[in-house]
């Protein structure tokens, strides 16, 4: 390929894609008849950490956005916003999901748990949280809420796992500090086993 040519083409491509994006940013209004076919309403009730929260949610809004910017639950972190790191992991009906890659409207009828919902009413930490402290699991801490949520969901399903099972289950949570060993120690401790 002629590098000159390809470069010019490339530049044109960039500008063209930019224009294309601009032209489609107009708002599409749902017709009333759409309601019956599943067009969504904006004001919805969410079940978050056992509480019902009424919140105005755009159709395209992600759960991470709603949690962080509308409900003030900033424990859920956005590390990549693309489902490639796990920092935004929350538990939905007992199963871990990336909240950056979940539409809020898809969890309307479901129970969402975030890191803020783990402590007991008297402030006692969840066993996973306590174990992560005891094992000094977090380093920078940015991935930690996601690690906590994955560990909590995993132990609820498998109370006495092997270390290898834990490792497989935690694989969707990246830690750039490389604290995997200490997180696994924490999970084994939380399950009542020695790491």
């Amino acid at each position: 390929m002629n590098p000159q040519l390809s470069r010019r083409r490339f530049i044109k491509a960039v500008i063209a894609s930019s224009v294309a994006a601009a032209s489609t940013s107009g708002v599409h209004n749902a017709l009333a008849q759409d309601r019956s076919r599943g067009a969504v309403e904006r004001l919805i009730s969410l079940n978050v950490n056992g509480q019902t929260r009424r919140v105005d949610v755009a159709p395209h809004e992600t759960l991470a956005h709603t949690l962080r910017y509308k409900l003030g639950l900033t424990g859920t972190k956005i590390g990549c916003n693309r489902g490639e790191c796990g920092a935004c992991t929350v538990i939905i009906d007992g199963i871990t999901n990336y909240s950056c890659s979940t539409l809020t409207h898809s969890v309307r009828t479901r129970a969402v748990r975030t890191v803020e919902g783990l402590q007991a009413a008297d402030g006692t930490l969840h066993p996973v949280q306590q174990a992560f402290i005891d094992e000094l699991s977090p380093q920078c801490g940015f991935c930690t809420p996601g690690q906590v949520m994955s560990a909590v969901a995993f132990l609820e399903e498998n109370a006495s796992p092997t270390r290898e099972e834990a490792r497989q289950a935690m694989a969707g949570n990246l830690c750039r500090c490389g604290a995997y060993d200490h997180y696994l120690n924490g999970i084994m401790r939380a399950s009542g086993q020695n790491s």
Binding site: M1, S6, R9, F10, K12, A13, V14, A16, S17, S18, A20, A21, T24, S25, G26, V27, H28, A30, D34, S36, R37, G38, A39, V40, A58, P59, H60, E61, T62, H65, N81, R82, G83, E84, G86, T89, I95, T96, N97, Y98, C100, S101, T102, L103, H105, S106, S150, Q168, A169, M170, A171, G172
Partner: protein
């Protein structure tokens, strides 16, 4: 590049009846975007590289869920979550190839929400295309990945035609090996398409990866009983064992007549725009007994006809090695 990151304005429909979804799909045509687990959707939209007018969320449609027994095998609703497939007893007993492949998809959280249909019809990961460039696949008239200096380690060694992108789906290879049939629904009814014909290369349609027509929804996948409980082999080689797509993968189904192969289907992922049948190997394998000797004899057939690019010729020996492993017994 503005490096967009938040979801732009897009309408959302969450129908509960398949009929409503089909009507929406028909009306919206190319302005509509079918939503399964969404893991291949939100990146496109956040990047503003694709700009549909509305998303049609298929997850609320009961008819698209579940694993059912049929007269000839099983039928899996397209909106069935990969997690449920991985854990399904019957699939693990009879079609463990699919469970194994599904278990190597992306990461646990993605398998927790990703649907079988979504995994099958996801778009290619060619990084040039994903950047929103105006390549053939995006409707332009250039391929950035094919040139001798292009960074094409992950691209095709078979079936390239202007576009050199590869199929990223792990479950697709397994379902082609299992001779699955795809059930496509539209307002004018349903039709079935064999897995071999479901996935299309750039010579057939350069802008799409499947033969689904606009307005069609993949409703279900049928797996025939023919391969139930047969000998299977699945392996995926990727840089990292989580998140990453296959450099090369293999899915093999073999029916045995004592020690010899009566019939078999071998399919590689990551080497072509579609799951790539190793028909040479299949032909030569019938009647052979599994073992080191036949593995050695069959392996070189795997890469016959391959046309490697500069950075991906390693896929040839890798394919051969995976065939070796499948045929060693």
């Amino acid at each position: 590049m503005a490096s967009f990151d938040v979801m732009p304005e897009v309408q959302l429909y969450q129908p509960v009846e398949l009929g409503d979804a089909l009507n929406l799909a028909d009306e919206l045509g190319e302005d509509g975007w079918l939503l399964g687990g969404g893991q291949d959707t939100y990146g496109w939209l956040k990047d503003r590289a694709k700009s549909p007018r509305a998303m049609i969320d298929l997850n609320g449609i009961e008819a698209l869920h579940g694993i059912r027994e049929t007269d000839d095998g099983i039928e899996i609703g397209a909106a069935t979550i990969l997690r449920d497939i991985i854990r399904d007893k019957r699939i693990n007993r009879d079609y463990s190839l699919l469970a194994q492949a599904a278990n190597r998809v992306a990461s646990p959280q993605i398998r927790n929400v990703g649907t079988l249909g979504g995994n099958l019809i996801q778009d290619t990961r060619c990084w040039y295309y994903r950047r929103g460039l105006d390549c053939y696949r995006a409707g332009g008239n250039i391929c950035y990945a094919g040139g001798p200096e292009a960074m094409n380690r992950e691209h095709a060694v078979f079936g390239a035609s202007r576009c050199v992108a590869v199929s990223p789906s792990d479950t697709a290879t397994a379902l082609v090996a299992l001779e699955a049939t795809m059930v496509a629904a539209s307002i004018s009814g349903t039709r079935t398409i064999s897995a071999d014909d479901f996935f299309v290369g750039p010579d057939t349609h350069i802008e799409q990866m499947t033969s689904l027509e606009p307005g069609e929804i993949l409703a279900a996948v049928r797996i025939p009983a023919k391969w139930a409980g047969q000998r299977f082999y699945f392996e995926k080689v990727a840089d990292r064992d989580v998140w990453d797509f296959a450099l090369v993968s293999i899915a093999a189904a073999m029916s045995m007549d004592d020690d010899t192969v009566a019939d078999c289907r071998l399919v590689c992922g990551g080497v072509a725009c579609t799951p790539h049948r190793l028909t040479n190997v299949e032909r030569a394998a019938r009647g052979q007994s599994l073992g080191e000797e036949s593995a050695e004899a069959l392996a070189p057939l795997a890469s016959e006809g391959a046309k490697p690019l500069n950075y991906n010729h390693f896929k040839l020996p890798l394919m051969e090695n995976l065939v070796r492993r499948a045929m060693r017994g």
